[in-house]
């Protein structure tokens, strides 16, 4: 781990007073910055919090929301809860996956720009079918709107050139 990253880790740990019971909040902070939980960082916080690496790994794998694999710049979550499902969310999911060439097993594009996931309910059933891109909610989706959305995101990232990691 580089000195810069170690400083970030120390700041996060400091803000939680090195409290081992705050391990979930600490992981959320790490994921907020890096979009996933890098192994070396988990080992680092385990050491600093006096927890075993196995325990920290156990917590990280218990929650669906934590990821141990790197994620794309845009994390697209397509809701597949009951309300969205009956309003044909599957078609949207299929459309986005085929557009980006990703699958359930390999949800992230090679250029690390997109990660496509399903989620069991976003709690916004009135807007069904719904999807989120990072924190932005997109309501009443259709395959057409999905195509448009991907296009916009690609333009925003300046695709064709190197997809720079702005974080």
């Amino acid at each position: 781990m580089e000195a810069k990253e170690q400083k970030v880790m120390d700041e996060i740990l400091e803000s939680h007073s090195y409290d081992p019971t705050a391990v979930i909040a600490i992981m959320q902070d790490i994921q907020q910055i890096y979009r996933y939980l890098p192994e070396e960082m988990l080992c680092y916080i385990a050491k600093k919090l006096h927890l075993s690496e196995a325990k920290v790994y156990g917590v990280a794998t218990f929650y669906e929301n934590f990821s141990l694999d790197p994620k794309g710049k845009y994390v697209i979550k397509i809701c597949d809860g009951t309300a969205c499902h009956v309003r044909k969310s599957t078609a949207i999911l299929d459309e986005i996956r085929s557009l980006l060439g990703v699958t359930a097993q390999n949800p992230t594009t090679d250029d690390m720009l997109f990660t496509v996931e399903t989620v069991s309910c976003l709690g916004a059933c009135g807007l069904a079918p719904v999807c989120t891109v990072n924190d932005a909610v997109h309501a009443a989706m259709t395959p057409e709107k999905a195509r448009e959305l991907i296009k916009e995101l690609k333009a925003e990232a300046g695709v064709g050139e190197e997809a720079a990691d702005e974080n």
Partner: protein
């Protein structure tokens, strides 16, 4: 006022029992459990110990505290139904190759399936077959046989403060895993094997080396030389109906001869050598002005691993003396060298140990000389029992036999190495200035004996008081180290054994609870009492070894420098 509970309509008094299960057991009803060990925290996972309260509610007795006047039932139609279903579901998700399982006959799941008469399992095992982890020299992990009781996780973190394994993932995909699913050999596992000792099934077992030892025995060009650790003699008999603590060394020697090994010696002689070296180091360290840390003992390979992984900066304070097994291994290999060459033989050095970490120790690079290990194989007490069963030896009917020459003399100090406090007592016998029989008797009572996890005692030495600590269980060692680091405590000498209760409680021994472990330790002290030679330096073999085989080679043969590198 006396407190009581109604259990199946009977009055049962209780005092400070922490849970209903303990009260029920006191009443003579042995409820089935998988995940309950009184030494560990309560988890309440297996639900086998369920009982019914007077309103028909089903509660887990292990995790419910008793209340005055409480009424519970342990045998109702509901409970009958639940226990059988729980067991059937556990069996459904479990590998059922019992006949080829190493735990066959010793498995709790098998035992309860028999006890409950489960006629068949109606559900298919939908779990994919997962690979075994055979990376460790000491244990084998088979996730397909795991019932997720978590006993291994709790013993590893609560008793040993290692935490090499924990629960990972969730729901149906939950499993016991190392951090990031690494091989167990690549983690901070210390190889103590206590996880295997508490595992109710065959999910964690001790790595078996019996096959290789059989091959060596059957090979006429191989000279199989065996050494037996002190703690083994007071436990192997348990497999043949002897009381824990009964010293059956004569019978063990006789059975090993029938097995076909060529020479049998006692590791206690190695322990005598260890004391000579370690005591010298101790005296040296006492001369160091302002030394912050004590001299730590180095006999326990799990403890060494613990320091390497968690307190690497303390390695310089661990004695450089090899463990008795390794010292004796070096002596054996040296002793037979010429003879081997002349006769065209190869000496295979086998150690019978109460310990799983010894398997790892024997394989360490630091103990290889010119690429050849001093100990070729380590067999646990349990493996030896398996080998004896294989050839059908009636252990109980054999006449006791004596060790082979020339390494058949050992001191009582060497024998007590197998109990917590034994190494420290042996060292004290060596360094104490007063060598009278009365002084020896006094040492017995300075507080080094007993099964407590932490013992502290003081001993007058020259113009000062020596402070000695004896700890067993790595969790206790961890707490002690923190106090020493924080400057709260100062010691001159600290003995550490990784297993709570010392080597007699090693994971390679037959399964035992605290009472049996205590009896085994007492058995060793009894043996010491009956031996003429009490102190290591009084052993005539020690002197002759130093004058001959070890001459000018003490450093090479009796000391080790750990590389602190990666395990394996």
């Amino acid at each position: 006022m006396k407190k009581y509970m109604m259990i199946d309509g009977e009055h049962v008094e209780f005092t400070d029992e922490k849970n209903i299960l303990a009260v029920i057991r006191k009443a003579g009803i042995i409820l089935p459990t998988f995940c309950y060990y009184s030494d560990l925290s309560i988890y309440g996972a297996c639900r086998m110990c369920v009982v019914e309260d007077k309103w028909g509610g089903i509660i887990a007795s292990c995790s419910t505290p008793p209340k005055n006047g409480m009424e519970i039932h342990t045998n109702t139609p509901q409970l009958y139904y639940h226990r059988k279903r729980i067991l059937e579901l556990l069996l459904a998700a479990h590998c059922r190759d019992c006949t080829t399982c190493e735990k066959n006959g010793k498995c709790k799941l098998q035992e309860l399936a028999t006890r409950f008469g489960i006629p068949g399992v109606r559900f298919e095992n939908t779990k994919p077959i997962r690979p075994l982890d055979t990376s460790s020299k000491s244990i084998v992990r088979n996730p397909n046989k795991c019932i997720l009781c978590g006993d291994c996780v709790r013993v590893c973190s609560e008793i040993q403060h290692v935490g090499a394994i924990d629960f990972a993932h969730r729901g149906a995909s939950m499993e016991i895993s190392t951090a990031f699913g690494k091989d167990i050999a690549d983690t901070n596992c210390v190889n103590c094997g206590q996880c295997a000792a508490v595992c109710p099934t065959g999910a964690i077992t001790i790595k078996q080396d019996t096959h290789d030892v059989w091959e060596a025995i059957h090979n006429p060009r191989k000279r199989v030389v065996v050494q037996i650790a002190p703690a083994v003699r007071v436990a192997v008999g348990e497999a043949y109906g002897y009381e824990p603590g009964e010293n059956t060394i004569g019978k063990l020697v006789a059975s090993l001869r029938r097995l076909g090994v060529d020479a049998i010696f006692d590791t206690a002689l190695g322990a005598d050598l260890t004391i000579i070296e370690e005591a010298e180091e101790l005296l040296e360290s006492l001369g160091e002005e302002g030394r912050k840390y004590p001299l730590f003992t180095s006999c326990c390979p799990a403890w060494i691993r613990f320091v390497e992984t968690q307190y690497p900066h303390l390695m310089p304070y661990v004695s450089t003396a090899k463990s008795p097994m390794q010292m004796f291994g070096a002596v054996i290999k040296e002793y037979y060298k010429k003879q081997d060459k002349k006769e065209g033989m190869e000496t295979v050095s086998v150690a019978i140990m109460p310990c799983t970490a010894k398997k790892f120790e024997a394989s360490r690079e630091e103990f290889k000389r010119k690429g050849i290990p001093d100990i070729d194989y380590v067999l646990t007490s349990s493996e030896v029992i398996t080998m004896l069963r294989e050839i059908g030896i009636r252990f109980d009917r054999l006449e006791p036999e004596a060790y082979d020459m020339p390494f058949s003399i050992y001191s009582g100090a060497g024998v007590i190495f197998g109990a917590t406090g034994g190494v420290a007592e042996a060292a004290v016998r060596r360094v104490a200035e007063d060598k009278s029989p009365k002084a020896l008797k006094d040492i017995e009572f300075i507080g080094l004996r007993g099964m407590e996890g932490v013992k502290v005692c003081e001993l007058p030495y020259q113009d000062r008081q020596l402070r000695i600590a004896v700890v067993s269980g790595l969790g206790n060692a961890d707490r002690l180290l923190q106090k020493v680091e924080g400057g709260e405590e100062h010691f001159d000498f600290v003995e550490v054994m990784a297993c709570a209760g010392g080597c007699v409680a090693g994971a390679g021994q037959p399964f035992a609870r605290s009472t049996e472990k205590r009896l085994r330790a007492e058995g060793l002290y009894k043996t010491d009492k009956a031996l003429q030679i009490k102190r290591s330096e009084e052993n005539p073999l020690v002197e002759s070894l130093y004058n001959d085989l070890l001459k000018n080679r003490e450093h090479e043969l009796l000391h080790v420098e750990y590389l602190q590198g990666k395990q394996g």
